[in-house]
């Protein structure tokens, strides 16, 4: 331990070493990694396997970026990116491939995962048995989600509810709104009412890249609040206030790309969103096809979003504080995080358990040290203080 504390000061000053904290299930490892000679993904992968004693196990590596999103490391490029983006700590999460196939990399996936994982944690057998049999359905896994169409099942067909994840990208939201006149068909005839419309979509912006918002789309709601009767400035303020997680319901100017629900979709009214397939929502392009088609992508993502809504509306960023005693504070938070995890063993983890863990950690440290020394890789230097509670 004394060695570790000695080595810390110079590394921090040099800024060339990245602190890495990797986590596999409930175990943490902390080590240093030279930024300049970080090496390639394969080496890193093997190193992590060895440090966690999971050699031979098929795992996926993820890291938490500054927005708290969980992003994959599966090639040299994104490994490089991960090392670069670490300031000062690189958080690695190791996931066994088998039980996490349904994982989504998306906004705040880091936090959301905890909640989702309560289920498999409580009933691990069921997940594992189903994991193999169910074909992989879901959004592409190695991409960051920036937008989604949600609530297809409950919205009128002419409307589209779009969620934009600002925190997922560096792109500007990139659209403008204007006042306009909206025409609606009512039982009394055609009615004109003031409305708010998208007036411009900036090239290269988030709104354009999603392809879900277009010029002259009428804005019906912003994050669940109807804009009818509100002024342009009010709607602007509402959108800006929600910009980190903006959900706009629009009436697309081009109604031909709408999602049509067939007659069967009345099932959806019962509120069973959970069964993704049962909702006959479809993205049909030219001709509305019969109800049989389904679009599980939108449906399942909508569910995933729905779960996270209650917590992440603020898009919290826990900024790294450069306060007086960052290490002790880190440790406090780590401990809190570990304690807060819904794994049964960590919730009930008493002090003795912590002690035993630290024992095992020191053990692994020794082993790792040996390993590093034997393999002669100097650029990956283990940095002590691996498990702190």
């Amino acid at each position: 331990m004394s060695r570790a504390s000695q080595s810390r000061t110079p590394t921090r000053a040099a800024e060339s070493v990245v602190e890495v904290k990797s986590k596999f299930e409930a175990e943490y490892r902390r080590f240093g990694l030279k930024r300049t000679v970080a090496g390639n993904f394969q080496e890193f992968y093997r190193f992590l396997q060895s440090i966690h004693h999971i050699r031979g196990m098929d795992v996926r590596l993820c890291y938490a970026d500054i927005h708290g999103d969980l992003l994959p490391i599966n090639n040299d490029d994104n490994f490089d990116k991960a090392v670069k983006s670490a300031n000062p700590l690189l958080r690695i999460v190791i996931i066994t491939k088998t039980d996490d196939d349904s994982m989504v990399f998306a906004t705040n996936s880091l936090q959301r995962r905890k909640k989702v994982m309560t289920l498999p944690g409580l009933n691990p057998g069921a997940t594992h048995s189903r994991g193999k049999s169910v074909p992989q359905i879901g959004p592409p896994q190695d991409f960051r989600q920036i937008s989604s169409i949600i609530d297809v099942d409950i919205l009128p067909e002419a409307y589209r509810r779009v969620r934009l994840h600002k925190h997922g990208t560096n792109k500007p939201l990139g659209f403008y709104i204007r006042d306009g006149v909206s025409v609606r068909v009512t039982p009394h005839g055609v009615e004109k009412a003031p409305g708010v419309f998208i007036s411009r979509v900036v090239r290269g912006g988030l709104a354009e890249s999603t392809g879900l918002l277009a010029i002259n789309d009428e804005i019906i709601e912003v994050n669940g609040i109807e804009v009818a009767g509100k002024s342009l400035d009010q709607v602007t303020a509402m959108m800006v206030a929600n910009s980190h997680n903006l959900v706009v319901t629009v009436k697309p100017a081009n109604q031909r790309n709408n999602v049509y629900r067939g007659s069967k979709t009345s099932v959806g009214n019962t509120g069973s969103v959970g069964s993704a397939g049962s909702i006959g929502s479809a993205l049909s392009h030219d001709s509305p096809s019969p109800a049989s088609q389904s679009n599980p992508i939108t449906a399942s993502s909508s569910q995933a979003e729905g779960d996270s809504d209650d917590e992440d509306d603020e898009g919290d960023i826990i900024l790294e504080s450069d306060g007086l005693n960052p290490y002790s504070r880190d440790s406090a938070r780590n401990g809190a995080a570990a304690a807060g995890r819904p794994f049964p063993q960590s919730v009930s983890m008493p002090n003795s358990m912590g002690a035993s863990l630290s024992n095992s950690a020191s053990y692994s440290q020794d082993r790792n040290h040996n390993h590093a020394g034997s393999s002669g890789r100097e650029r990956m230097r283990e940095d002590g203080n691996m498990i702190t509670l």
Partner: protein
């Protein structure tokens, strides 16, 4: 989120009833001087004065506290007002050529403060009339009314028109008496040929009834002809063939003489002698400021006196070349001659004099002059004709108002000292004669407490106003300019120096400066930005545009002393920034005389000298905190040392450093845009002239281009970036005795909030304050100890919106009392046993955080729900109008939409919403100031405060009765309260006002997921206090925690983490 919970807030009838007893919105009274007055009238029998404005308002004033307001349906300028003397009726002529009849009517008996008030009178429009165009005359301007005159009998109204016709209307029905109409042709026929010479007589300029012989009126035409017309016999008694263009006429009381004033700056006296029909020459004719060309005399009055020769009063007539730009009114009697020199245009004037028929002379007692920006009253009975201070209609804007501050419940002691200081200031030229306009009787109960309104002005003065009642009366004026060395030292001011005055009187015309409207500031840096007054210790802090913070104390004696200067650099460790804004003000190096009143003790100068944006005073701890766009500082004025200076600048924020010059960019841009627009309009204008076929395409193009230009406004949707310019501006500061270090020890703290949503909390060590701290350091003498500040917490609000207000709530959720209130048993001591919390109001959200661990307890996301942004916030104590001892602390929010949202604390549940100010009225919203008991003020024009009340119990409104000569009929307005309309700018229709319920915007979109247990925190319908789900973690940096506390925190976190869904992974 889209799964709305349709849990409508169940309207608890009990709660609704309480709300009704607590909250009620009314605009009660307008303080100050009406904006853009355009007409004046006086009722000598009722002693009431009426002022009409360009926005169509009529305001009647009597004795102080007696006020009536009426508003025409159209916002058209009132050009003339006439009282029906003694009847409580008045006629108004508008710019759109309509005549309106108004009446004072008795309202329903009102209960005020438990006492039933009978005979409360309000103003109401009864009838209106528009003179029909005559078929024979093509020009519509022919029937444009130029002048109204009411006959003494009050049953006939003569109307003079542009076309030269005189029409007679019957009152009170306002019906035209066809057979009485006198057209110009009638008059021209009887004129001698050489005078007629084929020309028209011009519009009717003046109508005056013969003072002795009823039914005979003097008609003055613009060309100069004056006709004495007999209404009953319908023929001209006499003709006065004036040659000079006529401006006005006035009778001498006896009816033997009349005086006409003319366009060339002269006036003529004509004798009315029976016999000869034609009068060619006036008795006398003078041009008082001749012989060089003079400006017109628009109005002249001739008042006889018993003691000596008549008093002649006339406006204008100045020599065109030398004094043509002055606004003057001349008073002349024998050899005495005074030219009153005003700073704004003379609208109209009248004299208060005897009107009884049995009196032989006018004997005027006072002259009332309505100017564009103020009202001046001259005492005509006292030799030298001094001016009389006005008890109301004060020109608030004598120098532009830059900020305001309200102090409730001022002690009698301080009040008296202020009044004495104010009396000492009044110049010699003021008399203390009683106010001549004294009609009506105020029925409003005497104010229960004295209220002070402090206004800061551009010229560096702070004015203290008595805001306890309906009439806003000036008390005392404090000038901060003499702390500094300015180009124009106030000592050299000409009108304070008697010697200069002497010299002035020898010049011709004998000018005398009158009135206090002086919009020109010597130095804009003197402008006052923030004021804070401690009413217990009589300490005042005034902060200005050039980064000056002046701490003043009250002293009843005149004093010559040197003011201590302390300089505080807010940038300290920052480098590479240069301030390109204005310089600091140079403090005076020699001792300066300070008159009794507030006298400066210390001058604090922030560097760079940017405008002060926030100020907080804690007189009990002798501390002053101030903030600018660069940071904030803390100063101990007792020991005269700087405690803390903290820079809040974002490293990337270079704009703030350059000072006000950064505005140039946008100015340049807007200039460029406006030039483009002008150029474009010129181009398209020319195109229209050309009609060649080839230009058609161009024309179409131009039209297209124009269309593009007028394309509907669009707004960009982009989140607030972290490094917005001016992010470091300190928006609010607050002192509180609370728990910042830990949950068991409380002590002095300082809180500061910035434009970018950062909040800094400092723990203060004040010698002699705090639990047990003095004992620890018992050895050191108090004077040697210094105040210390330690950074405790830094909170970064995630939405980064500017922090509007910070307030600490005690264990009961009530705001902490003011300094001294707790220690001197003036308020209920705060609850220090339970955990405190801090309320942080940003432009977008209201949030309550627990203390000392800053974790969110409740919040309300106003912008996300309503799309409006918070502009002003105040914690107000609302008392129930029914239950004597029931009151509630409520958070009042004024938004950029101009509406008031009321929230309970600390639950932050919306209570009521009221529309108050038009959203376009930005200066109105910016000037709003709240009192602590549920009233407020905002500027409706540069010169007027609108007073409003949000409380059902506390309201200050005019309640007056007038003894009328006619029977007051009872009228029943449907809602029992007279609808109060507003004169200037900001009227919103009453329909939209005072929605007593919180709007619950619910989606009408079909949502089959009604009964899912998932709740949406974004849905407005979800107003539960259960905050576990919406706990959001802002970035809170803790700097004070010690090791054992950390363990505590850790334990807390563990506990909380168990239910909080968010896990922090470092």
């Amino acid at each position: 989120m889209m799964k709305f919970r349709f849990r409508r807030q169940t309207t608890d009838p009990q709660r609704e009833k309480i709300k009704q007893e607590l909250f009620a919105f009314r605009k009660t009274v307008e303080h100050g001087f009406p904006h853009q007055p355009s007409a004046l009238a006086f009722d000598p029998k009722l002693q009431l004065m009426a002022i009409g404005t360009k926005s169509g308002a009529i305001k009647i004033y009597g004795a102080p506290g007696v006020e009536f307001t009426g508003l025409h349906k159209d916002t058209t300028a009132v050009t003339q007002i006439l009282f029906l003397p003694g009847q409580g009726c008045l006629l108004s002529l508008l710019d759109d050529n309509t005549i309106h009849l108004w009446e004072l009517v008795a309202g329903v008996t009102r209960e005020v403060g438990g006492v039933k008030k009978e005979g409360v009178v309000s103003l109401r429009e009864v009838d209106s009339y528009c003179l029909p165009g005559r078929p024979g005359i093509e020009s519509s301007s022919a029937t444009r009314v130029t002048v109204l005159h009411l006959l003494k009998s009050c049953d006939l109204l003569c109307v003079g028109t542009e076309g030269g016709g005189v029409y007679v209307l019957e009152l009170p029905r306002l019906s035209l008496k066809e057979n009485q109409t006198l057209l110009q042709d009638h008059v021209t026929q009887s004129l001698p040929d050489d005078y007629r010479c084929g020309k028209s007589l011009g519009p009717v300029e003046s109508l005056q009834e013969h003072p002795q012989q009823a039914g005979k009126i003097l008609i003055g035409y613009s060309r100069g002809l004056v006709v004495l017309w007999d209404l009953s016999s319908r023929h001209a008694d006499q003709l006065f063939l004036g040659k000079q263009q006529l401006e006005s006429l006035v009778w001498e009381r006896s009816g033997n003489l009349f005086v006409s004033s003319h366009n060339d700056g002269g006036y003529s006296v004509w004798a009315v002698t029976n016999g000869n029909v034609y009068n060619n020459q006036p008795v006398s004719s003078t041009i008082p400021y001749g012989p060089f060309p003079c400006k017109a005399i628009p109005k002249i009055l001739w008042r006889t006196t018993q003691s000596s020769s008549p008093v002649i009063l006339y406006s204008g007539g100045m020599p065109r070349a030398s004094y043509g730009d002055r606004h003057c009114l001349t008073i002349q009697q024998d050899k005495e001659h005074v030219t009153l020199d005003f700073t704004s245009r003379v609208i109209d004037f009248f004299t208060v004099h005897n009107v009884d028929d049995d009196k032989e002379f006018d004997d005027p007692s006072a002259l009332v002059v309505l100017l564009e920006e103020e009202l001046v009253v001259i005492d005509l009975l006292t030799p030298g004709w001094p001016s009389l201070p006005t008890p109301y209609l004060a020109p608030l804007h004598s120098s532009a108002i830059t900020c305001s501050c309200h102090v409730t419940n001022v002690s009698t002691k301080l009040w008296e000292r202020l009044i004495n200081a104010g009396k000492a200031q009044q110049s010699r030229r003021h008399t203390h004669k009683s106010w001549p306009i004294c009609g009506g009787k105020s029925l409003a109960p005497p104010p229960k407490q004295q209220e002070l309104l402090l206004t800061g002005h551009e010229d560096g003065t702070v004015r203290f106003w008595d805001a306890s009642g309906v009439a806003l009366t000036p008390l005392y004026k404090l000038s901060t300019a003499n702390v500094f060395h300015t180009d124009c030292d106030p000592v050299d001011d000409p009108h304070d120096d008697p010697d200069m005055q002497q010299e002035e009187e020898e010049e011709w015309p004998p000018f005398r400066k009158v009135g206090c409207f002086d919009p020109y500031s010597d130095d804009p840096r003197l402008g006052i930005q923030k004021i804070s007054l401690c009413k217990y210790s009589n300490k005042l802090v005034v902060a200005g545009t050039a980064g000056q913070v002046i701490i003043l104390g009250l002293n009843d004696e005149r004093s010559d002393h040197l003011v201590d200067v302390s300089v505080m650099d807010l940038l300290q460790d920052r480098e590479g920034f240069t301030w390109k804004g204005h310089d600091r003000l140079e403090p005076r190096l020699k001792p300066a005389p300070f008159p009794p009143g507030f006298q400066p003790l210390v001058l604090l100068q922030c560097l760079p000298p940017a405008s002060v944006t926030a100020v907080a005073l804690h007189a009990e701890w002798n501390l002053v905190a101030f903030g600018t766009s660069h940071g904030f500082g803390l100063f101990d004025y007792h020991r005269r040392n700087a405690v803390l200076a903290r820079c809040t600048l974002h490293p990337n924020d270079s704009l703030a450093m350059e000072g006000p010059l950064s505005r140039v960019k946008s100015l340049k841009k807007s200039l460029r845009q406006s030039f483009r627009r002008i150029r474009k309009s010129r181009v398209s204008g020319k195109k229209r002239v050309l009609t060649t076929p080839t230009s058609k395409v161009q024309e179409a193009n131009a039209a297209l281009a124009e269309q593009e230009e007028v394309a509907p406004v669009q707004r960009r949707i982009e989140p607030r970036s972290a490094d917005d310019s001016l992010s470091g501006v300190v928006r609010c500061l607050c002192f509180a005795d609370t728990f910042l270090r830990d949950g068991t020890h409380h002590g002095p703290t300082l809180w500061a909030g910035t434009n970018s949503g950062s909040v800094y909390a400092y723990a203060l060590e004040v010698p002699g304050v705090g639990l047990g701290r003095t004992c620890e350091r018992g050895g050191a003498s108090e004077s040697s100890m210094c105040v210390e500040a330690v950074l405790g917490k830094e909170i970064q609000l995630m939405h980064r919106a500017p922090v509007v207000s910070i307030c600490v709530l005690d264990g009961r959720g009530k705001p902490l009392p003011d300094p001294y209130e707790a220690s001197q048993d003036l308020a209920i001591a705060p609850d220090m046993t339970n955990a405190h919390s801090v309320l942080i109001a940003s432009e977008e959200q209201l949030k309550v955080f627990s203390l000392p661990k800053v974790s969110a307890k409740t919040k309300f996301k106003l912008t996300a729900h309503e799309g409006c942004r918070v502009r002003k916030v105040a914690l107000v104590l609302f008392s129930s109008s029914v239950q004597e001892d029931y009151s509630e602390h409520t958070l009042v929010c004024l938004t950029n939409m101009g509406d008031m949202h009321l929230f309970n604390i600390p639950g932050l549940r919306p209570q009521v919403r009221f529309d108050c100010i038009r959203k376009e009225d930005i200066s109105g919203i910016a000037s709003c100031v709240f009192t602590k008991n549920g009233q407020g003020f905002y500027l409706i024009s540069p010169s007027e405060y609108e007073r409003f009340s949000l409380s059902a119990k506390v309201l200050t409104e005019p309640l007056c009765s007038v003894q009328l000569h006619r029977h007051l009929e009872q009228t029943f307005t449907c809602d029992g309260t007279p609808t109060h309309m507003q004169a200037n700018g900001t009227h919103k229709n009453q329909m939209g006002q005072a929605e007593g319920k919180v709007d619950v915007p619910l989606s009408t979109l079909p949502s089959p997921l009604l009964d899912t247990p998932l709740d949406s925190p974004l849905s407005c319908a979800d107003l539960t206090l259960d905050s576990t789900g919406e706990l959001t973690v802002e970035d809170v940096r803790d700097f004070l925690t010690t090791v054992d506390e950390e363990e505590n925190n850790l334990r807390n976190m563990k506990d909380e983490e168990g239910r909080s869904p968010g896990i922090l992974i470092n």
